[in-house]
Symmetry: C2
Subunit: 309 residues, 2 copies
């Protein structure tokens, strides 16, 4: 089985785009037709109805974007919000995406110590036998606050299963600086985290350009992104903050190595709920929300095409 | 409905102990009789059998410890490791504990930005209507790395629902220092996190001694614990690392305010798997594992009784 980064880069080159579609099924923004269908089909409680709607919504997005992009990133929180029913829906969404040939990055931001971290890694990272991992994904996002020893179970299982890990380095929220920008030994905290991640990435690269241990790096400050790209030459990046969080294509270009590799750019709301925003709101009715998803995804692919130049 | 900290302190005074029993159902350590019973009762796959065993094991621990301690702390990772079946088991374990009159602290170490953080908070924090929260717990552990704005949805929902939050400040693992000890502006990172947490705790205290926003602080270094107790006068602490992680009663005493309030001391493996270790291994057969749980819990209560002096 090829390594995570080999599989990912193959898909990126095949689809000719580093666009990553986030799956963020916020209930308040779901197309009314999806909610109505779930209410008809599901006789359960409020959480079960929501979970039914989330599964339907995400699987239909997957069907639209599978020919267009290399990967999807389900946001675990929204499924967890529906409780056990949401967990069932999430596992089906993950399976549906993998069957559609997409790389799946579970955005769960997990982190814990020792054998507890190992339990999380075991839950999320698929290997040769995807049945073995209940939420069988190709990669998982991980929080580094607990320390480098707590990253080890994740990176070890990732190596064993040819899976990937994206460790939070610099997030894209307004308050990211609170702790991540604190400076010690002439570097900000996120730069120290980046050093640890790059070491793990290099170890996982087997002499290739990139490893399977990556970093989440927001596109809020392009200079930071450029500096991190340079400081982490073996580290594949996952760049959120594109589209609705304010970043544009020019902001993310510094995150790429030559040839358009080494980074994925995520858009969630901008694609999921394209039917609600211009220019798609004028072009498509709410019932045609999948057409808006398709148009927004194609637009993102065009916007990002300059990374291959 | 009384606030989280009022409910917690009432239980602590009622049971006369700050002992918190972690529920960490590691499969490899489960009593053989529990596994055999699950294999008989459950005709599903490996994950469903494990989830059945976890539910049985945790509910029986709850039945043993409910008369003895104020609170339990399910470790979410082990349930997540069993996938959707584990999520069902976890929700039942949480409900069972609450029905038994125990405070439930979900140890999930969640953290994300904006509306995603809100989704996690909504999933875990119960209020007047526990049906509304799928994994309806009294409190949740939260990771601060993403920044202070990402704590807001958690603390806001906690306030609305009279629930609690424990934010990771200083963890008890060997590598905790990697990032948590980095020094900037004359303070270590965990001390900066502590400042943010204390502010939130004070705001949530409504003029009382303690708020409902707490901190996870390992007992590895008693001097650190004493300094944090002083720096965070309104912050209830959750102190892991007691028992199997090496800490003893004298190590945790600095975490308490006068009268034995302001801290909970957690033991997970030391109680869950007491049947495997001395002196209980000699006194009880593996089938009598619940007696070992009871004896280890009672011993912990005795060990910690000095906090009330």
């Amino acid at each position: 089985m090829p390594s995570y980064i080999q599989r990912l880069h193959q898909k990126v080159l095949e689809k000719k785009t580093p666009a990553l579609v986030g799956l963020d099924p916020r209930f308040s923004q779901l197309p009314p037709s999806v909610i109505q269908a779930a209410e008809k089909r599901c006789s359960g409680n409020q959480h079960e109805i929501k979970a039914t709607a989330y599964e339907e919504f995400c699987c239909r997005i997957i069907d639209v974007v599978a020919p267009l992009v290399p990967a999807v990133k389900p946001q675990v929180a929204f499924f967890e919000q529906c409780g056990p029913a949401g967990c069932v829906a999430l596992s089906r969404v993950i399976q549906h995406a993998r069957k559609a040939g997409l790389i799946v990055i579970a955005d769960a931001k997990r982190g814990d110590i020792g054998s507890t971290a190992e339990a999380y890694a075991d839950a999320w990272l698929a290997g040769e036998d995807p049945e073995a991992a209940p939420f069988a994904s190709d990669a998982l996002t991980v929080n580094p606050y607990l320390g480098s020893d707590t990253l080890e179970p994740f990176t070890r299982l990732a190596a064993e299963r040819n899976a990937g890990i994206y460790i939070l380095v610099r997030t894209s929220n307004p308050g990211a600086a609170t702790f991540q920008d604190r400076e010690s030994d002439s570097q900000k905290l996120y730069e120290h985290v980046a050093d640890v991640v790059e070491k793990l990435a290099a170890e996982s690269s087997n002499g290739n350009d990139f490893g399977s241990i990556g970093a989440v790096v927001g596109a809020t400050y392009p200079e930071e992104l450029a500096a991190l790209r340079k400081a982490m030459p073996h580290t594949p990046l996952l760049i959120p903050g594109y589209g609705s969080q304010g970043g544009g294509a020019s902001d993310v270009i510094p995150g790429f190595a030559s040839g358009g590799l080494g980074a994925l750019v995520n858009s969630s709301r901008g694609i999921n709920f394209a039917y609600e925003r211009e220019p798609y709101r004028e072009q498509y009715s709410p019932e045609e929300w999948e057409k808006a998803v398709e148009a927004a995804t194609k637009q993102m692919v065009v916007d990002l095409s300059s990374v291959f130049e």
